[in-house]
């Protein structure tokens, strides 16, 4: 990560980033450009550097914020009409941690409104273009963030992943995208989609940068009771397990020297030099793009050659994941979106003659069709008489999926799968076919249901020049070793 110092000023870094952001304007990456605010912060950091004062680990590093992170800089709209005009009085915990280390937000990025979608076409501001092919979708929902990193506008971007919203756009644009274990990074101050599956994560160009960002942003937050104890930063402390043999020379983790022989790992001992990699044979069929299957095969051969073991897994219960996901998640969406009623903040429909009409008009005009679809599904599966048949059954399927992963991780250390069945598709291609859009998520949503971490690793380009990514999956709380392993692969 290029930080500001005595020779390269933060102002220079920020100006460069802003210039690139404007250069790529027709990709529709940004919902807000933070020119004044970013330059002001840059000058403050430069002044500190000049005086020889201590600056953070991300001093002067420009970054972009997915539009669903609350901060007082720019309107936080989640790319939804209903949040237009909303200036947040609070700052998300993740944003605060980044800014405390000197990172500078240069803009907010486009997304599917309220993160509902897999293409960034459901944004009130219109779609974002793919970094490899302007006629294609950026993926979603964190499309703007992925493209901003892919086009080298910034070195990192924040994202949220509820069913693949970081991993899939990372894959579509050829960058690293990480969804940590549920609860690793505080959700405080991030517009909620589905509380039990929402995860905060990042887009980067390298696994080293991902490691640094994770060590900064992770940790328990009293403002989010579902956050986990700060295990990510504990490298070198007793909770860790020893690795077979040395993992290469000493690396720096979060500014502290980490032991060469241990790495944080939630579950079993992992030998990063000869790991057992699971591949799911249930996913290896015609529904997956042949070029993606080929890329996976090639990677497996490479892994074998490098001394790793490939383990074939059968995970039949994963087939319930998509259905369970599209019951549990809409239910939580319907609930979490109840607060947008036009009464206290954001958009309010004019000329409503009574309270009922105010609610109905505001929500009708303020939400995108995909938002409404999910609200209706969610309310349906929660309504009395249907709860047991839908929500409860989906919750049981979720337990089966968690068990399925536990079983799988008794046979392997990591699992490698495609991120989604297809390469980036054409803009408009699936926008009127919600089911085929939902099928895009078939390989990413099981992780969210199980709460386990997944990292998109860019592995090359298709014949047409489209990015191909693979998904490296680890057991709960294996985040650190997952990223360490990605460094090995890089």
């Amino acid at each position: 990560m290029k930080t500001a110092n005595k020779t390269v000023s933060a102002e220079r870094l920020v100006k460069d980033a802003l210039e690139k952001a404007k250069f790529f304007a027709d990709y529709h990456i940004f919902t807000y450009l933070n020119e004044e605010g970013a330059l002001k912060k840059a000058r403050e950091i430069d002044a500190k550097i000049k005086k020889g004062e201590k600056v953070g680990r991300l001093a002067g590093v420009p970054y972009v914020l997915k539009d669903n992170f609350l901060s007082p800089e720019g309107e936080t709209t989640a790319s939804a009409h209903i949040l237009q005009g909303f200036n947040s009085p609070v700052t998300a915990t993740a944003v605060k941690k980044l800014e405390d280390e000197g990172a500078i937000m240069i803009g907010r990025t486009n997304m599917d409104a309220f993160a509902h979608g897999s293409s960034t076409e459901n944004s009130y501001f219109g779609p974002t273009s793919n970094a490899c092919d302007k006629e294609r979708v950026a993926g979603g929902s964190s499309g703007g963030s992925a493209v901003a990193v892919a086009l080298d506008i910034v070195e990192f971007a924040t994202g949220t992943d509820t069913g693949g919203s970081i991993r899939q756009p990372a894959s579509f644009n050829g960058v690293y995208g990480f969804k940590p274990t549920f609860g690793t990074i505080s959700r405080y101050g991030v517009v909620a989609m589905a509380s039990s599956t929402d995860c905060i994560g990042f887009f980067t160009k390298t696994p080293e940068d991902m490691d640094l960002l994770m060590s900064i942003a992770s940790g328990q937050d009293p403002k989010d009771l579902t956050t986990l104890p700060d295990y990510y930063n504990n490298a070198g402390e007793p909770a860790q397990v020893p690795l077979g043999h040395a993992v290469a020379p000493a690396r720096r983790h979060g500014g502290r020297a980490a032991s060469t022989s241990v790495v944080t790992c939630g579950d079993p001992q992992v030998n990063l030099r000869s790991a057992r990699i699971g591949i799911i044979k249930d996913f290896d069929n015609e529904s997956v793009d042949p070029e993606i299957r080929q890329a996976l095969k090639k990677k497996c051969d490479e892994l074998k050659k490098n001394g790793h073991e490939i383990v074939e897994l059968s995970m039949p219960n994963l087939k319930y994941a998509l259905a369970a996901y599209y019951i549990i998640v809409p239910a939580e969406i319907a609930s979490n979106l109840s607060r947008y009623d036009g009464v206290r903040y954001g958009f309010r429909s004019e000329n409503s003659k009574d309270l009922e009409a105010l609610y109905a008009n505001t929500r009708d005009e303020g939400f995108m069709p995909e938002n409404k679809r999910r609200i209706m599904i969610g309310n349906f599966v929660l309504s009395s008489g249907f709860y047991d048949a839908y929500f409860l059954k989906a919750a049981k399927a979720r337990t089966l999926i968690i068990e399925e992963y536990k079983k799988a991780f008794s046979k392997c250390d990591f699992i490698l799968t495609p991120v989604s069945p297809n390469l980036a598709f054409k803009l408009g291609e699936k926008v009127n076919d919600p089911v085929s859009m939902y099928l895009e998520d078939v390989m990413s949503v099981p992780l969210n249901l199980a709460g386990i971490p997944g990292l998109t690793i860019p592995v090359g380009k298709s014949k047409e020049g489209l990015a191909i990514g693979l998904q490296l999956i680890g057991p709960r709380r294996s985040d650190k070793s997952l990223i360490e392993f990605a460094k090995e692969l890089a």
Partner: protein, 471 residues
């Protein structure tokens, strides 16, 4: 036809924790500006998450133990959805599936036991004030912790309904979980009533009367409802399952919402709050902190305080607590003063909030015991002990300041008696007394009292007069 009424009651109790159930904002909005006790969590800004107030868990344990309830080691929260401006999140966080307080019972003074089905923790809603063409929203009350206590349908008369609510109020006040101010809605009652023929096996169709805020209105609404439903059944009509409102002025209930129109709350587990897991040690430690309950006081004081007075005083937990603090020998006289003087005083409500120190009350009781104060003076000094302007000065000092200390020194009294007897206007009375006219002693005592400016102990004066005159 004779019908048996069956009544179940749900009672909402606002807990008096320092902060709200899900945020660190002041939970005591009494006398504060509307919307001044509200955090972004309470007014449901995007991205805000509830953080559970651990104190509320402790309060719930105490409340549960006050009703002899089991405390569930595992409980969790659910969301109950509805759209209304008093609910900024669009849902209430409650415990629908697994409540913290399990089954128990409440024993009425009559000895009747009412079983508790369960009780759960939840956040309160905001308050709306309606005007002719607009309404104002005050969110100060949003997510004030509540426990909702659900009774079994064990109540069969309006009187028992009244007594149950009152006993619940007492229990919650003694458990020190609520301010217990009914006027300001600290406790609210939903009463459901059905009638069935005497030997019927099943309960009848019930109507629910929501949001009653006094014991009397519970009793009256139940009486009205029993009459209304009896008339319907007698006429061969059916009782409709519905929610009814109570109008205190007209003394009637009116239909609000029938079962068909009932809301579907779309309950869902609250994903932002992990389940509550309580250890046995934690539950036991909190249960042990339950203060003395009305029954404990009944047992403790039944020899010293008459039953009538005790039942009156039991409505004032602070007084019972005080009686428990003061010296045992003074309990009887002070309990009488509490009941007959303090509670009759117009400022008693104010005084009850801040009782004088026990040592002052003990001092007063002892002065009265030693006849240093007449009974009138005792009452006067007693009230002064509560007076904000006099408070803390001590009974003795106040009595002296007001010149109310009785002269008990026999030598001093003898001097006054002698002075009075030397006065020409008392000569005839002295003569009459010596001639056997007993009654005139009263006149003479009066003269001495006058001479002493009321400070003499009249009993002692009479004794001295008799001795002097018969010498």
């Amino acid at each position: 036809m004779k019908y048996v009424p069956t009544i179940g009651i749900e009672c909402h109790v606002q807990l008096s924790t320092k902060t709200k159930l899900f945020s660190e904002v002041d939970n005591d909005a009494r006398g504060k500006e509307p919307n001044s006790c509200v955090s972004p969590v309470d007014y449901a800004l995007p991205g805000m998450l509830p953080r559970l107030n651990g104190e509320a868990i402790k309060y719930a344990i105490r409340a549960g133990r006050a009703m002899h309830c089991n405390i569930n080691a595992f409980s969790r929260f659910d969301r109950k959805h509805y759209f209304y401006p008093d609910s900024p999140k669009g849902y209430q966080i409650t415990q629908f599936y697994q409540p913290i307080i399990g089954s128990g019972f409440v024993e009425l003074p009559s000895g009747t036991k009412i079983r508790i089905e369960h009780a759960h923790l939840e956040g309160d809603a905001g308050k709306l004030t309606h005007f002719s063409d607009y309404s104002l929203v005050d969110l100060n009350r949003v997510d004030t912790p509540l426990i909702e206590i659900v009774s079994m349908p064990d109540i069969h008369s309006p009187k028992d309904a009244h007594d149950y609510c009152k006993e619940l109020w007492r229990l919650m006040c003694y458990a020190e979980v609520t301010y217990g101010d009914l006027y300001n809605g600290n406790m609210r009652f939903d009463v459901n009533i059905s009638l069935a023929e005497e030997d019927a096996k099943e309960l009848g169709t019930r109507a629910e009367i929501k949001n009653l805020n006094s014991f009397k209105s519970v009793e009256r609404a139940a009486e009205y409802e029993i009459k209304r439903q009896s008339r319907l059944l007698d006429a061969g009509e059916k009782v409709v399952q519905e929610t009814r409102g109570w109008d205190d002025a007209s003394g009637k209930t009116t239909g609000q919402r029938s079962k068909e129109e009932a809301k579907d709350y779309r309950y869902m587990p609250e994903p932002d709050l992990p389940p509550i897991n309580l250890s046995k040690e934690f539950i036991d430690a909190e249960s042990a902190k339950l203060p003395l309950m009305p029954d404990d006081y009944r047992e403790k004081f039944n020899q010293k305080i008459s039953e009538d007075i005790l039942e009156i005083l039991l409505d004032y937990p602070s007084l019972m607590k005080k009686l428990n603090e003061i010296d045992e020998k003074n309990v009887k006289s002070l309990s009488n003063l509490f009941a007959s003087v303090l509670l009759a005083e117009e400022k008693s409500a104010e005084y009850l909030n801040d009782l004088p120190p026990s040592k002052d009350l003990n001092e007063l009781a002892e002065m009265n015991e030693k006849k240093e104060l007449s009974s009138t003076a005792t009452k006067e000094v007693f009230l002064k002990l509560f007076d904000p302007q006099m408070k803390g000065r001590g009974a003795k000092n106040i009595a002296k300041e007001l010149g109310l200390v009785q002269e008990n020194d026999l030598g001093a009294l003898q001097k006054i008696v002698d002075t009075v007897l030397a006065k020409p206007e008392t000569q005839k009375a002295q003569e009459d007394f010596r001639n056997g006219q007993e009654k005139v002693i009263g006149f003479l005592v009066g003269q001495v009292m006058k001479e002493s400016h009321g400070k003499a102990n009249p009993a002692a004066v009479q004794e001295i007069l008799r001795k002097t005159l018969t010498k």
